[in-house]
């Protein structure tokens, strides 16, 4: 529901302001971005921070990222978050950083230990959708934007239901833990 409530606004202005903020946040969940970065376009670093939030809080972006996860064979190496030849992503250990920009960079540019670069091969928009989905696997997307069901054989609790965020821990190999 994205309509505003004038009755309540009149009765309690402070409450209304809070409610509006909440509703505005909730609206992001349903928002469709009709002007995504054009295919092949490179987004400037300073623009990225604001883009991150808009993808992560948007159910459509996260759900699309989830579909791409299988389309682009991410599942082949990382399974459905538990990992295989690639590292687990539902845990709290991030070899190259778990903030959205680091995850984006990992997907776009690849990493030397076996992560291939997807940048330049898939549209910029999809890289951000994948980033948002990886964040949701780790429990960093908002609960209302993260998917809550699987289309195929369920192998772990749905992204929106599992609270996978754990306190910061040190990793024996010196990997960083984010955020």
């Amino acid at each position: 529901m994205c309509s505003r409530s004038p009755d309540r606004a009149a009765a309690a202005p402070a409450f209304a302001l809070a409610a509006m903020l909440l509703l505005l946040t909730a609206c992001e969940r349903e928002e469709r971005r009709f002007e995504p970065p054009s295919p092949g376009a490179r987004v400037k670093t300073e623009q990225r921070a604001s883009m991150i939030a808009s993808y992560e809080r948007n159910a459509y972006a996260v759900a699309t990222g989830k579909r791409l996860w299988t389309w682009y064979n991410c599942n082949g190496c990382h399974a459905y978050g538990g990992g295989a030849s690639g590292p687990a992503l539902i845990d709290d250990v991030w070899i190259y950083g778990g903030d959205a920009l680091s995850i984006y960079t990992t997907i776009a540019e690849g990493r030397p230990n076996g992560m291939p670069a997807y940048g330049g091969r898939v549209p910029e928009d999809q890289l951000w959708q994948l980033t948002a989905y990886v964040r949701s696997l780790a429990g960093f997307a908002t609960r209302d934007s993260a998917p809550n069901r699987d289309d195929a054989l369920l192998t772990r609790p749905p992204e929106a239901l599992g609270d996978t965020r754990k306190p910061e821990t040190a990793h024996p190999s010196g990997a960083t833990v984010q955020p």
Partner: protein
């Protein structure tokens, strides 16, 4: 060589350590490899040294057995391309080096084969024969036959095209290469090819049993065990599963995947082929070891090949002709209903077959197989084959998959689980003549280590929670055990030291496909992690921890 001999018996003729005294076996020395991944290698003992090949980053250590405590004589670091780690399907293991004529040959994960001077560790040559960016890796132990080193690629999961090649031992130059898919000239099928069964005959089956061009990324890699019969001058090896994992995307028998090849060692020409799991829908592979033994069967002594396959059957075959003499389940099987011996056909169970988008339940054995890479041993004294293996079933859903070079070409969601009885591992002593188990030992965790049989009638194997065990070869009675630091997935060996005493050695260090959840820090809350193995061993991270260490035992 890791398999002890060309026949791959893993039988040591040493008898100093016997059923009578093995109970007093003591630790002689240890050595830390400094590597934390799955240690699947067999230590190799030759010329007064012990050679250890570690998992990635593929270090070779030479220990001087003549000096007290076996100090390090030299160390070689292969420094393979780090990218290989991400495309090694299951763990970054290495199955051991091989020694021949003063040289040591070892593979590295990035498809390098390296020849070292055994005395000094000096590099004689290095040859890289695969592309990690396409998903090719190398984990096998090479085999040296005369002046050739035999190697094969791995990476069926990534849709690479399988091959086996022979390199010149003195230069590393490729003498021949035999592909597992494609036209006959690539597969080295010519005038000498005489398969036993009609289903293996025809022109260019490596093309015609696939959808158009699918053979080019059809898997069937040959990176596992190789055996050799010097009298017949034939090598024997199995090919891996076809790609992709979603079988509906590759209608046909998908030759020459998931089957056994016999080839002339000198030129690689195929003599026979037998496809154990045609159109493999279960990711079974046929890379398990082939034990070449002559068996007194009804009707006379025959030159046989004994192959306990992933698909759940022990195959006893005539290794001259490729005829299946018997094929008997050694584990619970629901995916098929037996092998027709007159046609060689494996009869599948209709309701266990894949359909895209449908969850198929209770597939036994699981895709890790009734048995996987872990090599069996054969004792000519008991005439039993000691098979270390697992008891796992799985649920699976096939999903549509696209080929993207360097990414897995799978198309299957898998969740494995314990088979009937709830125990996940078994050591089976198999009578290949009677085609039945003589005795079995149940283990809670999959038995992912190799087996060793000795003339002292002792069988050694290890468990994934770190116990190194000795049992009576005749009846399986427990005789001795020792708790090592990490889970054991390596290959035990017996050797005579420079002091004349018998020693038993094994590498501890959990990993491999079964131990990947520990070795690779996977998250077992996702049952599909490690290609579904996580669902079968969610307790493993609490049962063992990483750590590569050599343990050597002797009598006091």
């Amino acid at each position: 060589m890791p398999a002890h001999d060309y026949a791959s018996t893993r039988y040591s003729p040493l008898s100093e350590i016997s059923t009578a005294n093995v109970g007093s076996l003591r630790l002689a020395f240890t050595f830390s490899t400094g590597v934390l991944r799955g240690h699947e290698a067999a230590p190799i003992v030759a010329a007064g040294m012990m050679y250890i090949a570690t998992p990635y980053p593929n270090i070779v250590y030479a220990l001087n057995l003549a000096a007290p405590g076996a100090p390090l004589a030299w160390k070689f670091e292969a420094k393979p391309d780090a990218f290989a780690q991400g495309v090694a399907c299951c763990d970054v293991v290495n199955r051991g080096a091989v020694y021949a004529d003063g040289r040591l040959f070892v593979n590295a994960l990035d498809n390098s084969t390296i020849a070292l001077e055994a005395k000094s560790g000096k590099v004689l040559w290095r040859y890289r024969s695969g592309d990690v960016r396409a998903g090719e890796t190398r984990i096998m132990a090479p085999l040296v036959v005369k002046d050739r080193v035999l190697i094969g690629n791995a990476g069926s999961e990534f849709g690479v095209r399988g091959w086996l090649a022979a390199l010149d031992t003195s230069s590393g130059r490729e003498a021949w290469r035999a592909y597992s898919t494609g036209p006959d000239r690539d597969v080295l099928i010519g005038a000498d090819y005489r398969p036993f069964y009609a289903k293996e005959k025809g022109a260019d089956l490596g093309v015609s049993t696939w959808p158009r061009d699918a053979w080019k990324r059809g898997g069937g890699t040959a990176g596992s065990w190789i055996s050799y019969d010097p009298d017949l001058d034939l090598i024997y090896y199995g090919t891996a599963k076809p790609a992709p994992g979603n079988a509906e995307q590759r209608p046909g028998d998908n030759k020459f995947t998931s089957g056994l090849f016999a080839r002339a060692a000198r030129n690689g020409e195929a003599r026979w082929f037998y496809q154990l799991t045609p159109h493999d829908e279960f990711h079974y592979d046929a890379g398990n070891e082939n034990i070449l033994i002559d068996l007194a069967l009804p009707g006379g002594v025959r030159k046989t090949l004994v192959h306990p396959d992933s698909n759940g059957y022990v195959y006893v075959m005539d290794r001259t002709t490729g005829e299946v003499i018997s094929a008997t389940p050694f584990v619970h099987v629901t995916s098929s209903r037996g092998v027709e011996l007159d046609t060689g056909v494996l009869r599948y169970t209709p309701d266990r077959q894949q359909r895209t988008g449908i969850v198929v339940r209770d597939i036994c054995p699981a895709s890790a197989g009734g048995k996987n890479w872990q090599p069996s041993a054969y004792s000519p004294r008991t005439r039993l084959v000691y098979i270390p293996h697992q008891n796992l079933c799985q649920d699976e859903e096939a999903i549509q998959v696209s080929y993207i070079a360097g990414t897995p070409y799978m198309g299957a969601i898998v969740k494995m689980m314990p088979g009937p009885g709830g125990h996940r591992g078994i050591l089976t002593a198999w009578d290949p003549v009677a085609a039945r188990a003589a005795w079995t030992i149940r283990e809670d965790l999959p038995v992912w280590s190799g087996a060793l049989a000795t003339a002292g009638d002792v069988v050694f194997y290890g468990t994934m929670d770190g116990w190194f065990k000795a049992v009576d070869a005749k009846d399986g009675k427990a005789l001795w055990q020792f708790k090592t630091g990490s889970g054991i997935v390596g290959q035990p060996i017996a050797y005579r030291g420079p002091d004349g005493k018998q020693y038993v050695a094994v590498l501890s260090g959990v990993g491999g496909w079964a131990g990947a959840v520990v070795a690779r820090d996977l998250d077992v809350r996702d049952g599909s992690a490690a290609h579904g193995f996580a669902n079968a061993v969610p307790d493993l991270p609490l049962r063992t921890t990483k750590g590569g260490m050599l343990y050597v035992f002797a009598l006091p």
